[in-house]
């Protein structure tokens, strides 16, 4: 069963809180990783790896660099997700 955007956002919030120490409640769709959440490219790799474990969606490095906001990641995961 496909995950809803809200479920992906919530999961992502927990991942970001664990990896970058940003409170999950602050992880909202319009936020930019670099400018708003102070998350650099190394943390983005960790987030991508954790997202792969959680959502089953791989985010390779060449795609990761194009994901600038939280919403970009939610849309990417939603787009690649498998529905039953």
């Amino acid at each position: 069963m496909a995950l809803s955007d809200q479920e992906i956002l919530s999961g992502l919030g927990d991942i970001i809180e664990e990896i970058a120490g940003v409170p999950a409640a602050d992880v909202t769709p319009e936020k930019s990783f670099v400018d708003d959440l102070d998350i650099d490219s190394l943390s983005m790799v960790e987030i991508a790896v954790a997202a792969q474990d959680q959502f089953g969606v791989e985010i390779p490095d060449d795609e990761l660099k194009n994901l600038k906001t939280v919403k970009d990641v939610v849309v990417y995961v939603q787009g690649k997700g498998v529905s039953a």
Binding site: I19, E46, V49, D61
Partner: protein, 321 residues
Amino acid sequence: MTSFQLRTGSPGTRILAFGHYQPSNVVTNDDLAKNVETNDAWIQSRVGIKQRRLAGPDETVVDMAVQAGGKALANSGLSPADIDLVVVATCTQEATIPNASAQVADRLGIVAPGAYDVNAACAGFCYALSNTSDAIRAGSARNVLVVGSEKLSQWVDWTDRSTCIIFADGAGAAVLGPSEETSIGPVVWGSAGDMADKIRVKDRNSFLFQEGQSVFRWTTSQLHAVAKEACERAGITPSDLSAFVPHQANLRIIEAIARKLKAENAVVADDIVEAGNTSAASIPLALSRMIERGDVPSGTPALLIGFGAGMTYAAQVVEIP
């Protein structure tokens, strides 16, 4: 079918002592920023290094190995005559022929021991530790000097800010001997040769190259499982560890693996902050300094995990001498 005689070894092995050596030349991030476009805040944030040591122009891998090995030997209470095998883990010798270990043995007054070098890059010390522990158990050797010694500075392009901020020089060593108990746990080792191009020196006229992002991804996603397996093989859990000493590759990598390992009672080695990334030297150097400072109690378990170019990795639990 012939069956040859076997030598009698020992049921187990232990590390008697560590020793280390760092070159005297301290190079800070501000020093590097004079020559390449970088700054202290960026380096500390991305890699965690504040300063590193670089060997003198005439100071060799063998020179540093002799210093570290000599200290380990002195700390062990053994004499050179007690050592019958010397192994140096290194991938940065000035030239590959002759090996480092025979010279190290000669200069330390160790007469005619077995002597070979191990090249498994930053996993080299853990590989060598495993081999030599097994040699003692099998009766091939009695007391062994194992050294990790590297002079990365002679392979680095000092105008390349992606590598010159990371790599450094130094040596660490351990003396091993037989024991009735198993104080060096079984190794978990492996490799990922499909990633051989991620950290490499192309040829004799080239510099060290690293594809940082790929290495970061591989280390932070694959290695915590290896670390846990090494604990399991030793019959302990991560919670039992008093120290976690990963290869000092990058502080962000160390923190990521430590976070996933969840060794909540362990001091996590962060020697890279002052020593830089010294490849095969980094684990024995870090642990030797931790022991010297009294950071970790004698007789308690430490998890070592080396990983790097190859890609190669090896991990084992050891009892702190």
